[in-house]
């Protein structure tokens, strides 16, 4: 075969391969690449969703820098994430450790702990809205939590949990953790079950107690899994919004605003699609930076 024929065959082969990936590539371009670049294009415009666009350069970006409500909403999402990283993941890890042991009905517990994540966020939000209902009717507290507090002799703790700026965000963060801890639990339980039992036996022979075994065997072996859980928690919680909408509707003033509700508000409330795109881009950049920093930190921890 001469070189011309060889190159023709190679070209045909490459073309054939390319045609196989073409459908996937086309879908990726249409649904990911095009919207991404279109969003960047829109961010330089003032546009109400229909009608002409007006090019305004970096005006939207400038406005965003001074938008206190936007940066507050980032802070709120950060707070919800912090609660999830600590309270939610600690709970998930503790329960995963418990279920990894030889305890009775551990399969039953695993199923129960995994129930909240499979429930719809809207349903969870509505159920918790009822539990946290602050109303009193005919001398009875309608909300389950206030009813329990009152009937168990703690009337001083009865509170309007979602209607008070001091407690609304924390309450939402706790409900969000309740909803989300099942994911961490399942991933961590799977991670724990992959740890070689011989390592525990070796530690026992070396005289290590429960705490030493935990810190020197369990934690190091679980680090990659914990890292995955941390990244998923950050990305999931920073983007939480359905739960918030179903619990407090359009929000308690601006105390329960998170970035996605601000983006939604810019699009559907004030019809500022260009500004919503700037918010989305900024938020995306923040999430990428957080993921990158988390990855770098975990690499360092692993090396240590």
């Amino acid at each position: 075969m001469n070189s011309k024929a060889k190159s023709a065959a190679a070209f045909k082969n490459n073309l054939q391969n390319f045609l196989f990936v073409l459908p996937a590539l086309a879908i990726f371009c249409v649904f990911y690449i095009y919207p991404f670049f279109n969003m960047i294009f829109l961010s330089f415009h003032e546009w109400r969703g229909i009608g002409p666009m007006h090019f305004i350069g970096l005006e939207n970006y400038k406005e965003l820098l001074g938008d206190k409500l936007w940066w507050d909403s980032i802070g709120h999402a950060g707070y919800i994430t912090l609660i999830a990283l600590t309270f939610q993941n600690a709970l998930a890890f503790a329960l995963a450790l418990a279920c990894d042991r030889e305890i009775r009905m551990k399969r039953f517990y695993s199923v129960v702990f995994f129930l909240p994540p499979v429930l719809s966020e809207v349903v969870v939000g509505l159920i918790w809205s009822w539990i946290l209902n602050p109303q009193v009717h005919d001398g009875q507290h309608i909300g389950l939590l206030n009813h329990l507090l009152y009937s168990s002799g703690l009337p001083q703790l009865v509170h309007n949990w979602l209607g008070d700026p001091d407690t609304a965000l924390t309450t939402i963060a706790i409900v969000n953790s309740w909803k989300g801890f099942g994911w961490g639990f399942i991933i961590m339980l799977a991670g724990l079950q992959t740890i070689d039992k011989q390592l525990y036996e070796a530690a026992k022979i070396d005289g290590a107690g429960a705490w030493k075994t935990f810190t020197n065997v369990t934690i190091p072996m679980m680090l990659p899994v914990l890292l995955v859980v941390v990244i998923l928690t950050i990305l999931g919680c920073m983007q939480a919004f359905v739960l918030i909408l179903s619990m407090v509707n359009e929000g308690l003033v601006n105390h329960t605003d998170v970035p996605v509700t601000r983006i939604l508000s810019a699009m559907t409330g004030t019809n500022r699609f260009g500004y919503a795109c700037v918010e989305a881009i900024t938020f995306g950049v923040i999430l990428v930076c957080i993921s990158f920093i988390t990855k770098k930190l975990s690499d360092k921890v692993k090396q240590a």
Partner: protein, 427 residues
């Protein structure tokens, strides 16, 4: 290789064919709507229409309304709107649709036969989709939609709960309302509930009293930037919410309550008064058919200007200007808003009809709502509206007052700051 190329070509052709819009006139018209509670009635009427005319009307429901709105905007961008649809947005957005050539001007059809069709409809409902000469939106004057029902928002009172508190008549002014609320509070009945977690409803209530306190000229002057939100009259409006808070008139958690929950509270007799729309008649009928209630306009503050309530077209349909079935679509809407069909709609869906001649068939409670149309107004028929960001600051400010976080003075200053910023931006 050839097979692969042929396969890819087929896929591409199918995709291209799927993207194209049928342009030929047909005997089938497509209608998109968002009204879950009215879908069955629409389907029934569509079947009747097909029997009468041979034209099939495909009624397609897309709910909830938020998703519907996004679908319409996406379809408008892709130019794949159906023959008949509705726009659930501000008048300025409707104007954008018109300017983009997506809405048919119905003036000719409305004014044909000595204006029979136009004259049969409530003028205030029609005004919702009418653009007058010299309108600020830059739209060619005309009528661009057909109201299929009308709605207004008023104060509802529970007759049984008021009687339990020894109150024989509903309040005729704001002071009486506060007094009644205090009596209700004393016997453990929550005075007032509304879905103020939905900001538009809170804005509507405040707007009613703004009309009462300062009149429409001053309101519009504020929107133009000629009057400040720190003006004593606006402070009176803000103070009203502080008074409602201080006198414990409002149900706990009202600022985060969705309207469907407020409706549930009123239907289950957990509050004596509610601020809600005429659509709630249907909701209450479903939740508690034995509920005994009446309707009054929000009690006036007795100021020199008349109190106005929001009322206009409840739901409107518009015809796609680019539809090959435009005339058939217009004919169907004309039939749908004729007296007989309006009576059916009003009876089955318990909404106020847009046809004035169909009022005789409505229930007494809807009749009470209908009386309010005389004092109704609506942002969609105002010559100008407030900037959306200022409105957001205004509504959030009201929430702050209700939860006791800020004083009326602080809120008025903050709203004015946003207003000043937007005015600078506009100029």
């Amino acid at each position: 290789m050839r097979k692969i190329i042929a396969l890819c070509s087929c896929v591409l052709l199918i995709a291209v064919a799927g993207c194209s819009q049928p342009q030929k006139p047909s005997n089938k018209i497509v209608l998109w709507h968002w009204m879950t509670d009215r879908n069955d009635t629409f389907q029934k009427l569509a079947q009747q229409y097909q029997q009468e005319t041979g034209i099939e009307v495909s009624i397609q429901l897309f709910a909830p309304s938020e998703s519907y709105s996004q679908k319409v905007i996406a379809a408008a961008q892709a130019n794949v709107l159906p023959d008949i649809y509705g726009i659930l947005d501000k008048k300025s957005i409707v104007a954008d649709f018109i300017k983009a050539g997506l809405v048919a001007d119905l003036t000719g059809a409305m004014e044909a036969d000595a204006g029979n069709w136009k004259n049969s409809l409530f003028d205030k409902a029609l005004a919702d989709r009418r653009f007058e000469a010299g309108n600020t939106y830059g739209v060619t004057p005309g009528i661009y939609g057909v109201p299929i029902d009308v709605t207004n928002e008023q104060m509802l009172y529970n007759k049984k709960l008021l009687a339990k508190a020894g109150i024989t008549n509903p309040p005729s002014n704001f002071d009486e309302f506060i007094k009644d609320a205090q009596i209700l509070n004393r016997i453990g009945i929550t005075p007032f509930v509304s879905g103020w977690g939905e900001l538009w409803l809170l804005d509507c209530f405040a707007s009613n009293y703004a009309f009462n306190v300062m009149g429409e000229e001053k309101i519009f002057a504020t929107y133009r930037g000629e009057v400040k939100y720190t003006d004593p009259d606006w402070l009176k409006v803000f103070n009203l919410f502080a008074e409602l808070r201080d006198k414990k008139v409002l149900m706990d958690g009202i600022v985060t309550k969705g309207n469907k929950y407020a409706e549930q509270d009123f239907a289950l007799e957990r509050a004596a008064f509610s601020f809600n729309g005429s659509w709630s008649v249907n909701v209450f009928h479903e939740m508690n058919p034995n509920l005994e209630y009446g309707v009054i306009p929000p009690p006036s503050m007795g100021a020199s200007h008349p109190l106005k309530i929001w009322g206009s077209a409840g739901s409107s349909f518009i015809v796609n200007a680019g539809s090959p079935n435009k005339d058939k679509a217009i004919a169907f809407l004309k039939w749908l808003t004729a007296k007989d069909q309006q009576v059916v709609l009003a009876k089955l869906t318990k909404n106020l009809p847009s046809n004035k001649d169909a009022l005789s068939g409505i229930s007494s409670i809807l009749g009470e709502f209908a009386k309010g149309m005389d004092i109704s107004t609506h942002p969609n028929i105002w010559p100008l509206n407030e900037d959306a960001l200022v409105s957001e600051a205004f509504d959030r400010g009201l929430q702050s007052i209700i939860i006791g976080e800020k004083t009326p003075q602080q809120v008025s200053e903050e709203v004015q700051k946003v207003k000043d910023r937007q005015l600078v931006k506009r100029h």
